[in-house]
Amino acid sequence: MGVGPLHIIGNVLASDIRMATPILIAALGLLLVNEAGLLHIGVEGTMLIATLAAVAGSYYTGSVWGGLLCAIIAAGLMGLLFAFLTITLRANQTVVGVAINILGSGLSAAMNRVLFGVSTTIASIDTFKNLPIPGLSKIPVLGTAFFNQMPIVYIAFLLVPVISYFLFKTQPGLNLRAVGENPGAADTLGINVYRTRYIACVVGSMLMGVGGAFLSTGLLTFFSEEMVSGRGYIAIAAVIFGRYKPTGIMFASMIFMAGNVLANLLQVYGVGIPYYFLNMLPYILTVVALAMLGKSTMAPAAQGKPYRRG
């Protein structure tokens, strides 16, 4: 096996892809929510709830897939709450998003205490394992990077073409975007705006939940308070930097996390200072992108505006 620069490149790429995965899935979920015309700031809180639900589910069912299911359900419920408040009651989406973040932070920490008490020993749970793809994983450099990953990583990257196809090539996808662009017109065409937004919000939140689950039962193997640590905000940045396109979001997540991987690598070699600046990278890039793109950000026209029928 190759040891040396190629080997390092393979490993760096592999860890970049692994780190990008939770961001990518959450951002794809957020994309669905955004495209339906909802502005969702509460990604961080939704993911936090899911990290705990995944650990608890894995602990009680004995299977990491059971944990994933719990995470999806928990995140979906958060999505339902967001949808009810912002769609049915037409509440300010930004404020509700902030409330979801505070709720996610508090509830995940509180439920952790309820379920696992104060014991300092971490409950051992089933977690995701690498699933090398026979044959392909033996390819030098690229094999370790692309084909020797955990199942969720494959799912995340497969979701990119799937969601792309859904949004731009299918009727329901078109309807979804119409609702986000001009709900009034969509309504006159017979599209149920409320129902479309509800479904997009719940399904999108479930994807955020998958991202959260991967954090606590894939990347790490336990729950800790505030463990999402800004990844929800990076997902928001990824959607904007990726210009509301699944492929763009994929590259955005990988570029953002490359900074992080590089930072960790530099820390190993004792170069500490740029660490904080590399962590800032996603946010700075997004602000710069917003400044340069201006109004042509491709954001759905009706994003953030509540829809009122009649």
Partner: protein, 360 residues
């Protein structure tokens, strides 16, 4: 005359309902929070009494006022932007930068008497937060960038910038705790009551509430700002320069949040530590929401959330109940207040529609 009375009665009724709704929301949220305490197999009565005692008990109430101080200012910050039709989510970042400017002046400029040093620090903190938020205003005016997103991004940037500074160039003792040097004694806000942390910053924040009221309800500029927020098209046609107003408001709102960070350093913390402003920014949104963007409302909102923070700390110490419960309670209060406000609005709409149908 008669119509005026009816109108007066209906507005009085409405504000009475909104107060009732807020109180009900707090009660329900507290009950749910205590149910969580029961689920943790802790004594809810002990938790509740230690919380109330920690917030309002003798010797503790000053701590509520201490926690209330930054909330007053972040509440003003959010409300001011909101009146102009902007959503400022960046109060936390603005607090960090305000604190940074104040610390630079307070810890590194020496040899000044307190009556010059203190105002200088306050001005520096105001300008720091103001400039940080002005970035958002400029991006909005000249690039059309959504302020909601840019403020969130700037929060994270400010947070990492502070982490870098307190771990690197500004660390008090290299290799020691990640914190800056203490601000000099001449740059500190004196305590009001001996043995407490309550300081003059509290009155500065209350003074800002008065200034906020004067600006928004009694000045021409404030009127322009309100018109720009309520109806940008009308503002445009009446010759109001919306862009200029956005820049002014973002600077002032950022300044208020910057002042919050600055006072926290000069009056309470003495130096910048990691995440010292954690949560104050987003809590400011809740404060302003509960106060419905009005000066008096913000005072009550800040008192409530200050009490939650102080009470939560005491609950953690005395009843060993984690203060994450307080986060849950606060989030539920926000959700229920905003939810019931919308329900009332929808009910009102339906009533009007029915009336219109009857008249037709």
């Amino acid at each position: 005359m008669k119509i005026d009375k009816v109108k007066l009665k209906s507005t009085a009724n409405r504000s009475l309902t909104s107060v009732g709704v807020s109180v009900a929301a707090v009660v329900i949220a507290l009950v749910i929070g205590m149910l969580l305490v029961v689920a943790m197999q802790k004594n809810p009565m002990k938790a509740f009494t230690s919380m109330v005692n920690g917030a309002f008990g003798p010797g503790y109430f000053t701590e509520t006022l201490v926690k209330m101080t930054p909330l007053l200012l972040t509440g003003i910050s959010f409300a001011l932007c909101n009146r102009c039709g902007l959503t400022n989510l960046g109060m936390e970042g603005q607090m960090y930068i305000g604190a940074l400017f104040a610390t630079l002046v307070g810890a590194y400029v020496t040899g000044l008497p307190w009556y010059i040093h203190v105002p200088l620090c306050l001005i520096a903190g105001f300008i720091g937060g103001g400039l940080w938020c002005l970035i958002t205003g400029l991006l909005k005016v000249f690039c059309g960038a959504s302020e909601i997103i840019t403020t969130v991004m700037l929060n994270m940037i400010a947070q990492f910038l502070i982490e870098y500074l307190i771990n690197g160039p500004m660390i008090a003792t290299p290799g020691g705790n990640p914190q800056t040097k203490n601000v000099l004694a001449s740059a500190r806000l004196g305590t009001l009551i001996k043995g407490s942390r309550l300081n003059w910053g509290y009155f500065i924040a209350l003074g800002c509430i008065v200034l906020f009221w004067l600006f928004i309800s009694r000045s021409k500029k404030g009127y322009e700002v309100r018109v720009s927020g309520m109806n940008p098209t009308a503002a445009l046609y009446s010759g109001i320069n919306i862009k200029k107003n956005i820049l002014l408001v973002t600077f002032l709102a950022g300044g208020a949040a910057g002042l919050a960070g600055c006072i926290e350093i000069m009056g309470v913390q003495k130096c910048i530590q990691s995440a010292f402003a954690s949560g104050y920014g987003f809590d400011g949104i809740a404060v302003s929401l509960i106060g419905q963007n009005s000066p008096v409302g913000i005072v009550f909102g800040a008192l409530l959330f200050g009490a939650f923070r102080a009470g939560g700390n005491n609950m953690m110490r005395k009843a060993q109940v984690p203060d994450s419960i307080v986060n849950v309670i606060q989030a539920l209060v926000i959700i229920m207040v905003i939810g019931s406000q919308m329900v009332l609005e929808i009910m009102n709409e339906q009533k009007l529609r029915k009336q219109a149908r009857k008249e037709a």
